[in-house]
């Protein structure tokens, strides 16, 4: 069976579907699909009926569910893994919960609404097998594994135009299904790597959840091991699901899981012994205490147990306490190192300042068991602003919140001294910073702050605050210094990078200006001169009337030669700087390119506005280069360019190459200004705004995607059969990134 082309494959699938519904025979049906068909038909569904999935709840309900859902925190990660499908392949990303209800739909607005109209892929729709029969989301949940479902593999006919890949995500805490990550598009677009991509995304999310879980575990251990060390009885520590994260060295529960009733209570320990699980104060976990197996009331055995442990541990109780303390110190150190490493990794990845500061605040608060952590930036005007805030509470401080640097405050003390400072009590203290802290709920109880020394001054401060409980331990300041140093590094890196980019942008801009000047000079000088000579020659010819034939011929030849020279000069000037770009912007300039292209090109760039000059020039030369490459490839068939105006993009397809049914395409897409998934951030020093993509820290404000896509395989391929050369996109993306620093300056000036 040759199913090498998508159209053919889909026809085969349709025949299989008809056969199955006709007489129940399964022909050329993959096992997971066949299983799902059986399940769906057994549930008694009419496959011909257009049955849109049930809608659960209203929009706000769904949004609340999504925000509370464990996968909600992984949305940026999912977007990062799958943005290629959403941005460049006209797919949508769907996330469902463990019941198959869609919680989040992400993708291009147009595609999203098209797909939603056709198949009801909206937030709140129920895409379980019960709700929508065989489909990627429902079948991935039912089969508890990744699955690709396309065309007539969908049991319900109205979804036959869809091609979807989905993979389930499991909670590392207890192994239960959390939901499904899915990418959905139409069958006309075949991207076989979509299944691998969703699988990779689900693994990445699971790894992310696991690392969060490990951090929670470490925090619980750090907080309670001390208490456990001083407790006379044998104790173990378990998470909310009953997963044991710390056991008594003699082995009270023997690791693994303990089945804890909701809210705590009696538990069964290995060896048939009984124990009791007590919920931890304000934490998602339990302390598990062993009870004597000799029975009786709860109270009495506890006393017996106490006595038993005391007698058995006599003589080595000091050793045990020592052991626990060493363990605790080691755990703390490991935790601190891990937190520092996470921040350092962010910095090495050139994450945005916002992301780095945010992570520092979170790590510091978690590490110290503080209710709030703030990264403050000292401003030259005697104020300070919030660069990052993390809290265990509900109320938050937005980035950029400004407060007067006055009154009683750790930040004030640090700024004055340039050294770490602390306030072990807030009794009788007041000032604007404390007033601000009081608006966050419980007022400050104790604080500690370390200076961020960057750019040769006290740039800012990291402050951790507790609203209750004990004061910070003696060594807290020294533990925070590493974080302050990392923040300082990030700030200097960012400044250096900005300066480098700015200087590159200046060079590029200077070169552009020079080209424009040369073009102008040619136009105003040599070209006008030629025109003038031409007019004089024409006038002379007109005035002379009947001259000898030889003289007339010489004159005509001179006029013709002059016209040729003018033409040559015009070509030269056009290559140096396109005059139409200066006069009319991208739209007319690209039209000229399309008209002059050796390959026939259909172009749709309606709606292009005027952009900063550097951006226009980069885009122009990008398209020009792309067209030249198309022209040098073997094909001379047709070329099409399209792009809806509202997306502000110019999209270009290269000629079809009809060899073996392959259709390489060249697409150029310009997006300016940054779309909704991109937002303005601030330079860490607050001097000038920079553009960063939300969830993606790289500075990439204008996306320029140049990819020759093999329509058959979806793989990126070079257009020409010549030797490999660097991908245009890379060159141009780098160029444009540099240009934009200059361009943005122009915009903000």
């Amino acid at each position: 069976m040759d199913t090498s082309s998508p159209g053919l494959l889909d026809r085969v699938l349709l025949r299989s579907w008809e056969t199955y519904l006709g007489d129940g025979r399964l022909e050329h049906v993959r096992v997971p699909i066949a299983d799902s068909w059986r399940r769906s038909l057994a549930a008694g569904v009419d496959p011909l009926a257009s049955r849109p999935p049930t809608l659960l709840g209203d929009r706000r309900d769904v949004r609340d569910r999504w925000e509370a859902h464990p996968l909600g925190t992984s949305a940026p990660l999912i977007r990062r893994w799958l943005s290629h499908f959403a941005n460049d392949c006209d797919y949508v990303i769907l996330i469902s919960d463990s019941r198959g209800m869609l919680l989040w739909v992400h993708g291009d607005v147009t595609v999203r609404s098209e797909v939603a109209d056709a198949w009801n892929t909206v937030e709140g729709a129920l895409w379980s097998e019960a709700g929508a029969r065989t489909n990627a989301v429902g079948t991935a949940l039912a089969a508890a594994g990744p699955v690709h479902v396309r065309a007539a593999e969908h049991l319900v006919e109205s979804v036959h135009r869809a091609a979807c890949s989905a993979a389930p995500v499991r909670d590392p805490e207890d192994g239960r299904l959390l939901g499904v990550i899915d990418v959905t598009g139409t069958t006309s677009k075949l991207y076989p790597d979509s299944l691998a991509a969703v699988l990779a995304a689900s693994r990445a999310v699971e790894a992310d959840l696991r690392s969060r879980m490990q951090r929670r575990d470490a925090r619980l251990r750090a907080r309670y091991l001390e208490r456990m060390a001083s407790a006379p009885r044998r104790l173990a520590l378990a998470t909310h699901s009953g997963r044991v994260i710390a056991d008594h060295p003699d082995g009270l529960v023997g690791g693994g899981w303990v089945r804890v009733p909701p809210g705590g209570g009696a538990v069964l320990l290995p060896g048939g012994r009984r124990g009791i699980a007590e919920p931890l104060d304000g934490e998602d976990g339990y302390v598990i205490r062993g009870l004597s197996d000799s029975g009786g009331s709860r109270r009495r055995p506890a006393r017996i147990q106490t006595a038993a442990v005391d007698s058995s541990a006599t003589g080595r109780s000091g050793g045990l306490a020592e052991w626990r303390r060493t363990q605790l110190a080691l755990i703390r150190l490991a935790e601190e190192q891990a937190a520092l490493r996470r921040v350092a990794t962010l910095i090495a990845r050139h994450a945005s300042a916002e992301e780095i500061f945010g992570s520092v605040a979170e790590e510091v608060a978690q590490l110290l068991g503080a209710e709030h952590a703030i990264v403050w930036r000292y401003e030259p005007d005697g104020n300070m602003t919030v660069a990052a805030f993390w809290t265990t509470g509900a109320r938050t401080l937005p980035i950029g919140t400004e407060v007067e640097l006055d009154g009683d405050s750790v930040a004030v003390l640090v700024q004055q001294s340039g050294r770490p400072r602390r306030l072990d009590s807030y009794d009788g203290l007041s000032g604007p910073v404390i007033e601000l802290a009081n608006t966050l709920g419980a007022g400050p109880h104790s604080s500690v702050g370390v200076p961020i020394l960057a750019e040769g001054r006290v740039w800012g401060v990291i402050v951790a605050t507790r609203t209750r409980g004990a004061q910070f331990a003696e060594d807290t300041e020294s533990r925070l210094v590493g974080f302050a140093e990392l923040v300082a590094t990030a700030i200097s890196n960012a400044v250096t990078r900005e300066e480098l980019c700015a200087s590159r942008a200046r060079i590029v801009a200077a070169a552009d200006a020079e080209r424009r000047r040369i073009e102008r000079n040619l136009h105003d000088g040599a070209q006008q001169q030629l025109m003038w000579i031409g007019y004089r020659l024409h006038t002379a010819r007109d005035a002379l009337g009947g001259v000898p034939a030889a003289a007339a011929t010489a004159l005509e030849e001179a006029i013709q030669g002059l016209a040729d020279a003018a033409e040559d000069l015009r070509e030269l000037a056009r290559g140096i700087h396109p005059a139409s770009l200066t006069e009319g912007g991208l739209e007319p300039a690209l039209t000229v390119l399309a008209k002059r292209s050796a390959t026939p090109v259909a172009l749709n760039v309606a709606g292009c506005e005027r952009y900063p000059e550097a951006v226009e020039l980069a885009a122009y030369f990008l398209v020009s280069e792309a067209l030249t490459n198309v022209g040098t490839s073997r094909s001379r068939d047709s070329s099409q360019a399209s792009g809806p105006a509202h997306r502000r993009c110019a999209r270009r397809r290269s000629p079809r190459r009809r060899t073996g049914g392959c259709e390489p395409r060249l697409r150029v897409r310009l997006v300016w200004p940054p779309g909704p998934d991109q937002c303005a951030g601030r330079h860490p020093d607050g001097r000038e705004p920079t553009w960063t993509r939300h969830g993606d820290s790289r500075r990439d404000p204008m996306r320029v995607v140049v990819a020759a896509q093999h329509a058959m395989t979806g793989r990126l391929a070079r257009l020409d059969p010549g030797p490999p050369r660097p991908c245009l996109a890379l060159i141009w993306r780098a160029a444009i990134r540099q240009l934009l620093v200059g361009a943005h300056d122009e915009r903000t000036d």
Binding site: H523, D524, Q527, Q528, M531, W532, G534, Y535, R536, H538, T539, D542, A543, A563, A566, E567, R570, R574, P578, A579, S580, E583, G584, E587, P588, T591, V592, K595, R596
Partner: protein
């Protein structure tokens, strides 16, 4: 009337057209000059260079058309550039046509005027 930012070219072009029995009633090197001359001289046709130094001939065309207030376009755009370079901009402008500077002649202007009148009918 001719509008071009290069005085030498202006003079040479005027002389050429005068030699071909077309009277050049005025010349201008800037937009302001062109606007005031147009109101004063009411020329039958105006040749406007697309690239007028720092000014845009296309903008000037729109400005001049506003001045005559719908009485029918009388502007022909000229340039040392190729027509194809500005095709879309010329199309969008109210001018009746385009003439490459290298092909400037009284006959060519007449042809464009006749063509525009025919189309207008």
């Amino acid at each position: 009337m001719i509008v071009d930012d290069n005085p030498d070219v202006l003079r040479a072009a005027s002389e050429l057209l005068e030699g071909q029995d077309m009277s050049v009633v005025g010349v201008a090197t800037t937009g302001d000059e062109a606007a005031s001359l147009m109101e004063e001289l009411e020329p039958d046709v105006m040749l406007v260079d697309i690239v007028l130094g720092p000014e845009s001939g296309l903008d000037l065309t729109r400005r001049l058309e506003r001045l005559i207030d719908g009485a029918g376009s009388r502007t022909i755009l000229i340039s040392t550039h190729d027509e194809v370079d500005f095709a879309q901009l010329i199309e969008a402008s109210p001018a009746i046509g385009f003439l490459p500077k290298s092909e400037l002649s009284a006959a060519a202007i007449q042809r464009l005027l006749v063509q525009s009148r025919d189309e207008g009918r």
